[in-house]
Amino acid sequence: MMAEESRKSRPRFKKRSLLYSDSRFGRFRRWREKLIELLLFLSAFASVAITFMIGFILIVESIEFFKVVSIWEFLTDTEWTPLFAEPRYGILVLLSGTVVTSFVALAVAIPIGSIVAIYLSEYASSRVREAVKPVLELLSAVPTVVYGYFALLFITPLLQRLNDEIPGFNMLSAGLAMGIMIIPYVSSLSEDAMRAVPMYLREGSYAMGATRLQTALKVVFPAAFSGITAAYILAISRAVGETMIVAIAAGLQPNLTFNPLDSASTITSYIVQVTLGDLPHGSIGYQTIFAAGLTLMCVTLFFNVLGHYLRRRFREIY
């Protein structure tokens, strides 16, 4: 109360020193600032710490695994049969499934997503854009288990009608469903990046006599490239980490193949398959989960670092 009154009676320029120095009010203020800073720091720290903890656990459990199986064997063996009487541990088998399904998904999502982004950002009127964008984003709101059955019960029969030798479980249909799911990730982020390109750059292009398409492809797209790269990298990470669709529609046979028409198991679908069983804690079969998980994390880490590098390399200067 005292502080309050003296504050009023003093001239204005004194206020600041009073607030931040000796009054009780000032001390409370400073203390509160410190507290807020601490809370903000802790929440930032928590996400970093959790990431490191996950990495730590993956590495610790994998070390136990690699005491039994050499890294060389893990990386070069062409069979993945950890639960058989004569176990083999070739991660390439699962990696091939991940690579093929992701490749199919990206072959769908990146071209379509980019085209949608160019349309929404450069061609569509604001009315159309406002209407289309939320609907498109609904695609990624559909639960992945629904996509899984969509692939298995709709896309696969469709493919089989074209070629009746395609097995009921195959990586192509899982990859296609995954691609559809990922389209909005690509289109939405790419569109944001393209719309952030300042209008004066577009005007420069139009003033040179360029058409809309030339402006979009030759000026806006390259100018937004770093943001578009971020969208692509996110799409890759999403595809590599996708679990449910491949577990349902791609089959769960570990199979070293690069033919999308085969059925195969991916790293993620292997993990989900094994966790559903009743493996004893601490057994070598149990530890394969962590070795596979570590591999997956290395792959996504690689893409994130690549994305970071590309973003810096092609950072736009407006």
């Binding site: 004066y200 005007e203 420069g204 139009y206 040179m208 006599g209 360029a210 058409t211 390259p222 200067i317």
Partner: protein, 259 residues
């Protein structure tokens, strides 16, 4: 008005009216642009000078709600560039523009200058090389960049970037160049270079320049148009406008009473 004495005429603005939605931004503008001269458009902010400039290459077509009526006739073939039957891209192939802020594309110096040619479908390396060199020379930039034509345009200084944009505008051999306050983002030395450049360029091409800076208009232009609240108040030889303007409003503006 000086209109009768302007000869030869490059472009003729006839009863041009312009609206931003409901706002009547240009009111019945009539103006003749002489060939191979510099015309300055001056006036206080919001008077419509940039709006008028952007009518020449139909930049307003990019924005819904920008509507206009009237004619801008380009000589010698007397084509009305504002006509609905005329493709704005055709217009922009003949009339190029330099913007207020240097806006090089995210490409190399060479590709920036070659952009207008590539857009026209020219692929022959020899033709591109020749045009790029000539344009960079005309923009007084060649000596500074000839050893790094393939480095990114963003690495240039602001003044160099603006001269690059001028080179880009020149590379397509335009008949008329529109300058929209080209020096407002530049320091005095870079500004002086660009002013010098306009003097050289007018030997080859007609120029319209919008400027906030009255000294600049006095220094570089042959004719000056003073605009106020969407109307063309006075248009005459630059010397006359700045020494003995015939309208009271013009005199008040150039002597600094408002604006």
């Amino acid at each position: 008005m000086v209109n009768s004495s302007i000869y030869p005429v490059k472009a003729e603005v006839k009863s041009l009216n312009f609206y931003y939605g409901q706002v009547h931004a240009l009111k019945n503008i009539n103006l003749q642009i002489p060939e191979k001269k510099v015309v300055a458009l001056i006036g206080p902010s919001g008077c419509g000078k940039t709006t008028l400039l952007r009518c020449f290459n139909r930049m307003h077509d990019l924005y819904p709600g920008h509507t206009y009526s009237g004619e801008i006739v380009l000589h010698p073939d007397e084509v009305n560039v504002l006509s609905k039957d005329v493709d704005p891209i055709e217009v922009r192939m003949r009339i190029s523009m330099v913007f207020q802020k240097p806006n090089p594309f995210p490409k190399s110096i060479y590709e920036n200058v070659a952009y207008g040619l590539r857009v026209r479908g020219i692929r022959r390396r020899s033709i591109l090389d020749e045009h790029v060199e000539r344009a960079l020379r005309s923009a007084a930039l060649w000596d500074e960049v000839k050893d790094r034509l393939h480095s990114m345009a963003f690495n240039l200084s602001g003044g160099q970037q603006q001269r690059l944009c001028i080179a880009r505008a020149l590379a397509i051999d335009p008949e008329l160049i529109l300058f929209d306050e080209p020096t407002s983002a530049l320091d005095p030395i870079a500004t002086a270079k660009i002013e010098e450049l306009t003097n050289e360029l007018k030997k080859e091409v007609s120029i319209i320049i919008v400027t906030h800076n009255m000294q600049q208009a006095a220094r570089i232009s042959d004719y000056t148009a003073f605009m106020y609240m969407g109307e063309l108040i006075e248009y005459d030889e630059t010397g006359k406008i700045f020494t003995k303007p015939s309208k009271k409003l013009t005199e008040e503006y150039i002597t600094g009473h408002f604006g």
